[in-house]
Symmetry: C3
Subunit: 414 residues, 3 copies
Amino acid sequence: MRRQHHHLTSYAALWGYLLLMLFALGTARADIPQALYDNLGLDRNADPKALFEALEQRYYDPEQGAGKGKFGELWEPIPFSKYLNPHTFYEPPQTLQMTATRQQCIDCHSGVTPGWVHSWGNSVHANLEQIRQLPGDDPRAYKKDIITEVEDNLRSMGKLAADMTLAEVSCIDCHIDIGAQQGDHAKELRMPDGAVCGTCHLQQWAERESERDTLDWPHDQWPAGRPSHALDYRANVETAIWAGMPQREIAEGCTFCHNNQTKCDTCHTRHEFSTVEARKPEACATCHNGVDHNEYENFLLSKHGTIYQTRGDSWDWNVRLADAVEQGQQAPTCQLCHMEYQGEFSHNVVRKVRWGFNPMPAIADNLDHPWFEDRQAAWQETCSTCHSPRFAQAYLEFIDNGVKDGLAVEQDAK
Amino acid sequence: MRRQHHHLTSYAALWGYLLLMLFALGTARADIPQALYDNLGLDRNADPKALFEALEQRYYDPEQGAGKGKFGELWEPIPFSKYLNPHTFYEPPQTLQMTATRQQCIDCHSGVTPGWVHSWGNSVHANLEQIRQLPGDDPRAYKKDIITEVEDNLRSMGKLAADMTLAEVSCIDCHIDIGAQQGDHAKELRMPDGAVCGTCHLQQWAERESERDTLDWPHDQWPAGRPSHALDYRANVETAIWAGMPQREIAEGCTFCHNNQTKCDTCHTRHEFSTVEARKPEACATCHNGVDHNEYENFLLSKHGTIYQTRGDSWDWNVRLADAVEQGQQAPTCQLCHMEYQGEFSHNVVRKVRWGFNPMPAIADNLDHPWFEDRQAAWQETCSTCHSPRFAQAYLEFIDNGVKDGLAVEQDAK
Amino acid sequence: MRRQHHHLTSYAALWGYLLLMLFALGTARADIPQALYDNLGLDRNADPKALFEALEQRYYDPEQGAGKGKFGELWEPIPFSKYLNPHTFYEPPQTLQMTATRQQCIDCHSGVTPGWVHSWGNSVHANLEQIRQLPGDDPRAYKKDIITEVEDNLRSMGKLAADMTLAEVSCIDCHIDIGAQQGDHAKELRMPDGAVCGTCHLQQWAERESERDTLDWPHDQWPAGRPSHALDYRANVETAIWAGMPQREIAEGCTFCHNNQTKCDTCHTRHEFSTVEARKPEACATCHNGVDHNEYENFLLSKHGTIYQTRGDSWDWNVRLADAVEQGQQAPTCQLCHMEYQGEFSHNVVRKVRWGFNPMPAIADNLDHPWFEDRQAAWQETCSTCHSPRFAQAYLEFIDNGVKDGLAVEQDAK
């Protein structure tokens, strides 16, 4: 964590820092949890191709959460389902029988669906060269490294020649195939899923997929890997009442949130895929609101939320999350605390989960188990960015006891 | 619609475009629905004076929704009613017996109600010359044409000499009479209603009034012209329980929303009358919220609303609604979709209404009627600004079926 | 009130103005209510030291609301209580046994709790010289006078030499003692309460404390001085059900709002203590929301709130509240109306309270008592900043009668 840099005053720390950098150079994936590698049977030094293929195999495995789930014979998709789980249900429309070139996609859709094209025009995807030209002190300069990393991934997977750089990410790259020059609109068109995004953004996808691996509840309080974004579609379809209800549109209403597993655009909406958008609390609010889990409302009405709402317009939302506090963000967002774990930031947002959404005796009675204690210690470290450790400890104990009190009332009522 | 311009590549289209321009030059009111002209017995080429007078006659006709309504003998206004329905209830205060000049209004109210005067000072009304001097590439330059149109209207009605231009719109123009140089505060003072605003802003008022004409439900699912802004006061006062309840302050609480018919400042609040304000979703939220019709909450928590909230500060809110998507607005607001109909934007916001606020069997059972199908097709075109037509179709079918499912539960419960 | 300046056109008014200025020079506390001086047995010309000591004595008096309250034997604090009522419960942590210098506080906490230090770095406290150098036309230039006033207070209390100016307000000034050069972390560390903030910000603290004095209900509708920020902790702990309930974490949940009495950071969150933040409605929302008193929701959904939300980004939030309307704030915030009383602005926000949170017959039946009528007149004056007095009168009567109607229903149901 950034603040630990202040302690690097001894030779020992300096050596540790150098070792860390060497390690980082070796894989550039220091913050993908070891449990993911273990579960996939991979070495940490696996190249991008090997990591991607192992992730993809698990991602598409019906035994591990892909597809319609164990109650799949009970329900049929509605027409909209193809957009919620494209890998399972999407078929290209048959209304347009043509082969389109890279440029034709843009030209035609500038006329028929201009909003898409304007959004993409504002994206990094459409402006890679602009990013490459940013001066080093621009807050978005870190994206140069991401472009380089994407190119390395593509070269490892044989999708980019060793002497080539990416010129753009255009319609056809995501909707036909990366690097394709043309595609058959009626046969080859695809809606991107996590694996499509993860081909380029392998680090981020692997982090997200690692939620399956780190939520290894010690007493099976929840099914393995849940509740998480990585398996939220499975959670939906493997609920008997969901699969069995005859009103399919009502059922698919649940899927409007339970589709993080199957896609990436619930946080990074198409087609700008703005990091600024994804970094603000509203990006989480679409799902994390309401009577069953009113996280967003609680945030907005907290002092954290007050500062966000009253002062957030003076923060630079283009700085990297890891640099945000140092660069002037004076209060946490959802992202700042939930994407952080032991000083590192990643797309695994469940590494400090303890209560899940559902306080239950099997959790309340085991908070002194090391699995829970380690996570509580990680929270305390997170809060200590801005609060004293004692304050954090008192606060965490406070809310634990409050939840236990509430749970006792609920249990009494049963 | 703007995106259709991309198809103007043939001679046929070019001729069509020229014809359209000629037509537009002839009336400048291409987007006032024909049904309004038909119902008012007017030719589309009617001059502004004729159109205004026909609109005004209907607007003030008790048989067509003006005044206290058919239960008018059951209730009396409270003191505040004069501000909710000024044409029916407003009387000038008798506390100030004086004749005030144009300048005296401003001078005295700068002292006694300074907030008003400061707001007006920020308005276009107080800065017509500033608008006239805007360079052509300023996003507000389109307002020059509106000033010209207003002047044409006033000349047609004999309120502006042929060789004069408007210098300003000041207190006295709206609160005594357009162009007046002085007025009797105790006798002539008025609170503007739709007709007062519509004298200058005839196009916009006629569009709004056309809601009476286009909501011609095929099986009388709702009373003609309702639910709409144009008849929302009538909806209030012609509800028996409203008119008959003895607690008049509670009843007039309803009128805090049900006063769009009688005034224009529910969307364009006085005295800046900001188009920026009126273009943002919060302008709609005062009424369109809560348990009975939570449109605002649904918007904010949708991805449309997320993008508005996280990225809207980077949009230019001064651009015309018709240009917004092209100019960088990456997600819809209420206004972008509900003011649009077949590619044109207007103040008739109910042209695509199908379910109204109140799903009922008489709607659910008739969605295959051409009236409903045409409106669904119009929605599909609207959504296609940013989504594929197939996506739009699947989504619209999705929500139709979901509403039918919910309605069936409600009907079973009865 | 600012708008009255427009009438200063006669000699009489000019003389009055000069007299007012002389009076202001004499005490600089023209807007501390006389009732506070009366209750504290002070002359209005009391020097800062005398005022502070009288306020502090009352503030810490258990008979007048300090400490655990009359049910104190029924309950024990939880670890977090020390942060909610530091004067009563805070003890320094024993984990760090060291004496820290002024600079060491900053250096060490830059490493262990960097968020704090960054926030403080953005504060006026850390940038006094920057404020002193502001040109006179900077909207924050008024803060120069506040710095001068703070220095006068400190000199009066013997905490600043006559020939010294304040260089900074650093960790140690608030957390050890004002002006201290070092302190024992395990013995001398303190959490600031109102008296600590009030040592420098005496005017603001005295205004806030005066809520105890001005809420002198004529028929004891509420306990003296309540409901108010100044006694909200007492309201909490002297409620029997609060003190007696065994679930102390649930009980202390109430204290998350009921701690304005004991601290100042519920509105001015640490460690930037931003006036911009404290001036926005969200600063009030943390407490003033929800089913029992949904003031914030009512504001946001009103037209006042609409204008704030749609146009507030164009307002200069650094201008003094008293100048806000003149400087372009076109709609009220909570602060603009509730901190104002008869044209003056202060931290006593209850001077126009009439209904409190709890409509009751003893209020409804006495609205014609002078105590209530004077407050209604003060509201009418407030509203007249932007509305005609007749409009304000009609509106206030409207809501009074509506509340009475609702109260009658409630009473019938009992």
